[in-house]
Structures are given as structure tokens and as C-alpha cells.
């Protein structure tokens, strides 16, 4: 199940947010070798302070297994403020109907091996979650910066990204800027590939108890 957490409400979801920051440190510092700020084994950046919307994939026992965050491209966002070099000179992504997804991460210690043939459930949930949020608020696209490994995952998830701009090597990984379609058709394709039958975002305001 996907839970939506506003950055401003992080205090009410302290355990989940903490688990998310730990997973992000494992993924972005340890595995991708990005130059991210990690304190006490938890990765945080200034966009976490910009009140993003987090999508948390939480398992049945109340543990976070993956996450991402969304920011409008009309305000502070990573593509504009951190990775403009991935775009063609003069390109700028800014629209009320385009949001940015960043820090897409799955717990590497727990996620089943993701291959192009076997799709991780958490990946599917998160991607369906993006599309569901997008449909709810009337987005046309979601843009994102991601590494080569994710390109394969997106393709396997039937959620192909169109690349925009020029890929560059950042840290250990080739890094791309890409865009995703927000449409019912996009949701159906991802859901079918991942064997999901119903909406993934929890409508239940009573979230399961956070694991102690």
C-alpha cells in the first residue's frame, strides 16, 4: 500500500520518515555513490525542507520498503536547481501540470532481486502511485532524474520514460532526465505488468501502526 505524507506532517510519521531516510542513504550514497549528505546513516537534502509530497510503500507489518517524493516544477526542484546540466542548454521544465519525482528508492536489503523479467512489487506500487496522484490533480507529465539501472526497471514496468536532454555520469552511475506520461492508459499498463488490480494509494486515513 502507498501512503501519502506531506513534508509538513513528517512529525506525525516519524518512524516511517526515519526508515525512508535510512533506505535513501543505503541507495544513494552506498550503491550509487552520489555525493549526498548523510548524517547518522540518514540521507536528507534541502528539498526535504521544501514540503514535498512523499509516497511511501509500506508493507503489511508497517515497515517502509521504498519511497519517492514529488515536487511541483513551478517551485524549487532538483532538475532546475541541481541537475540543469542534464537538460539541453536553454531548456527549463516548468509547468503547473508537470511535477518532479525524486529519490526513488527501494530498500536494497529487503527488495527481491529486480530483473527485467521479474518486477518488484514495490516498484510497481510506487509507479502506480505517481500516476494516481497525477490523475487526481490533473498532471500531464512527471519528470525525474534517474540512473541507468532504473531505466531498465521502468521499461520492465511498462512505464517507459522518454529521455530529455543529455545523459551524464554522476557519481558511479550514468544519469538521465526523463519524463513519464500521466494517463489512465499509463496506469493500466504499469498495473498489468506488475499484477496490480486496484488503486494502490491508501484511502484509509487510519494508517497502520508504524513499526516500533
Amino acid at each position: 500500500m502507498i501512503y501519502l505524507v506531506n513534508g509538513a506532517d513528517a512529525g506525525q510519521y516519524r518512524q516511517w520518515m526515519d526508515e525512508m531516510h535510512v533506505i535513501r542513504a543505503k541507495v544513494f550514497r552506498d550503491r550509487l555513490g552520489w555525493d549526498v549528505e548523510v548524517e547518522d546513516d540518514r540521507e536528507r537534502d534541502r528539498f526535504d525542507a521544501a514540503n514535498p509530497l512523499y509516497l511511501l510503500s509500506v508493507d503489511g507489518r508497517g515497515r517502509v520498503q521504498g519511497s519517492l517524493r514529488l515536487l511541483p516544477t513551478t517551485g524549487p526542484n532538483m532538475l532546475r536547481d541541481v541537475f540543469p546540466s542534464l537538460l539541453e542548454p536553454g531548456d527549463m521544465v516548468e509547468s503547473a501540470t508537470i511535477w518532479e519525482s525524486s529519490r526513488f528508492s527501494l530498500d536494497p536489503d529487503r527488495a527481491a532481486e529486480v530483473t527485467s523479467r521479474k518486477l518488484n512489487r514495490v516498484t510497481t506500487e510506487l509507479l502506480c502511485g505517481i500516476v494516481e496522484v497525477g490523475l487526481m490533480v490533473g498532471l500531464s507529465f512527471v519528470v525525474s532524474v534517474f540512473d541507468a539501472r532504473m531505466v531498465r526497471i521502468f521499461r520492465a514496468a511498462q512505464c517507459p520514460a522518454d529521455m530529455i536532454g543529455t545523459p551524464r555520469k554522476i557519481g558511479k552511475a550514468m544519469t538521465y532526465a526523463g519524463l513519464f506520461d500521466i494517463s489512465e492508459a499509463a496506469w493500466n499498463a504499469i498495473a498489468a505488468a506488475g499484477g496490480i488490480g486496484d488503486r494502490v494509494i491508501s484511502r484509509d486515513s487510519d494508517a497502520p501502526a508504524q513499526a516500533a
Partner: protein
């Protein structure tokens, strides 16, 4: 049913087109009042904080509420407990007034008294994040009964997501916060050019050797930069601004 293929109703187009023409503070109020009347709403309220070169404790506010309500709100110091502000500024999702927790007394008083002042029984608030780090909220309210409102709300959340941003840009203009000159990237100009020549998105994509999704994406970026309501409007504006030539 996604944005660019959605048949957009005339109201939506008119509202955005009118917002692009507004030049004075008085006209901002006129626009909000016109929008409220046209959509059959009760009220509309726009508020922005953190504008560059402004004291952020001094928000700019444009509302169609009665002066009596604005005075009463200030006198009762509702700003301290108003969930519209607390949740709106902490969220990027639309805030539905129906979701507020009314168990706390000050919040219950706020909404009880707001009804007496004709603020509206229902409301949604659309957060806007701006380029300079400013944050704005556009609220629309209604006196519709629940079933009717719940039906409209779904559509309003999507349409007003876009309208809110156009209203925000309108206010920035009126408040003399410099908007950058329109500068289209080469790819955006290419897409507009071929569209102006009657090519479909698929054809434009083929000509430029990009995916149709990418072509739509660049057209959407151009639309946004030109403050246009749709691609046709964007082409017309690009021609009138001499960004692309009309006859080729």
C-alpha cells in the same frame, strides 16, 4: 482523460485567458468575482507569502469575502488555528475542507462563524509553489449540497490546479515582480512551428525524430511559458510575439 486531450470547457479557457490580460489590482478582484459568478461558486480567495523583496509576514491577499468577514477573522485571530493555511502551506495536494478535523473548538468556531458570514459551506484550497520560493493558496468555496459538490470537486481539483497557477502569475505581474521574458528553447520553437503548419503531435514527433510523448512535453512547456490555455492558443501567441512566423 488527461490534460492535453481533455476537452476543456469554455469557462476554464476564458478564465485563464482573462487572467493573462489583468494589469491592475482592481482587475484582480474583478477577475475573481467574475470567476466566482461564472462557475457558480460562493467565494474565491488568493493569498501569497514569501514574495521576493517583501516581508513574508505581510502576505498579499485578494479575496471576494465580505469586508465584515475579513475584519471578524482578524479580530478573532483565526489565522492561528485556520487549517486552510496550516495544511495548505504544508501540502502540494489540493486541500479539501471536508477533511478538516472539527473536534478542536477554535476550528469549529472558525467554520461555524464563517458560515454565518457567508464564506461558503464547502471549499477546496489549491497550493501553488512559485519560482522565487513563494507559496500561494487559491481557495474556492461553494454552497452546494454534498452530493453535488462531491461530483464537481473532482473536476475542480484538476481545473483549478491550473487556474491557480495562472492567477498566481497574474498577481506576480500586478505586484511588479519581474516575470522573465518569454524565452522558448529551440525544441519548443520547432514543435510550435510544425504545429502552426497543421501537423499533428504524432507528425511533429516524427519530423523531429522524438517520441510523441516528448513532442507533447515540449508543447506543454511552450504552452506554459506563453501563459496560453492550450496548444492552439500557444501557437497564436507565438506568432503574435514573432517567436515563430505565421505564414511559411
Amino acid at each position: 482523460m488527461f490534460f492535453s486531450d481533455r476537452p476543456m470547457d469554455a469557462l476554464f479557457l476564458e478564465t485563464i485567458e482573462q487572467a493573462a490580460q489583468v494589469g491592475t489590482k482592481e482587475e484582480v478582484y474583478t477577475l475573481l468575482q467574475g470567476m466566482v459568478a461564472a462557475y457558480g461558486l460562493k467565494n474565491a480567495a488568493y493569498m501569497v507569502v514569501n514574495l521576493p523583496h517583501r516581508n513574508h509576514l505581510d502576505p498579499q491577499i485578494y479575496v471576494t469575502y465580505s469586508m465584515e468577514w475579513v475584519d471578524h477573522y482578524k479580530k478573532r485571530n483565526f489565522v492561528r488555528c485556520d487549517p486552510v493555511l496550516l495544511q495548505g502551506f504544508g501540502s502540494i495536494l489540493p486541500v479539501d475542507w471536508g477533511d478538516f478535523d472539527l473536534s478542536k473548538r477554535p476550528v469549529r468556531s472558525l467554520f461555524g462563524e464563517s458560515r454565518e458570514f457567508g464564506v461558503g459551506r464547502q471549499g477546496i484550497t489549491l497550493p501553488v509553489r512559485g519560482r522565487f520560493g513563494e507559496q500561494a493558496l487559491l481557495t474556492i468555496t461553494s454552497d452546494d449540497a454534498d452530493p453535488e459538490w462531491n461530483r464537481k470537486k473532482i473536476l475542480y481539483m484538476r481545473d483549478f490546479q491550473v487556474i491557480a497557477y495562472h492567477i498566481h502569475r497574474m498577481v506576480l505581474r500586478v505586484e511588479n515582480i519581474s516575470e522573465q521574458q518569454i524565452h522558448l528553447a529551440p525544441r519548443e520553437i520547432d514543435c510550435l512551428k510544425w504545429t502552426a503548419m497543421g501537423k499533428t503531435v504524432q507528425e511533429v514527433a516524427q519530423i523531429l525524430g522524438v517520441g510523441h510523448r516528448t513532442a507533447r512535453f515540449y508543447l506543454e512547456l511552450a504552452r506554459h511559458k506563453l501563459d496560453a490555455v492550450n496548444i492552439t492558443h500557444a501557437v497564436a501567441k507565438a506568432v503574435s510575439l514573432n517567436i515563430i512566423s505565421g505564414g511559411m
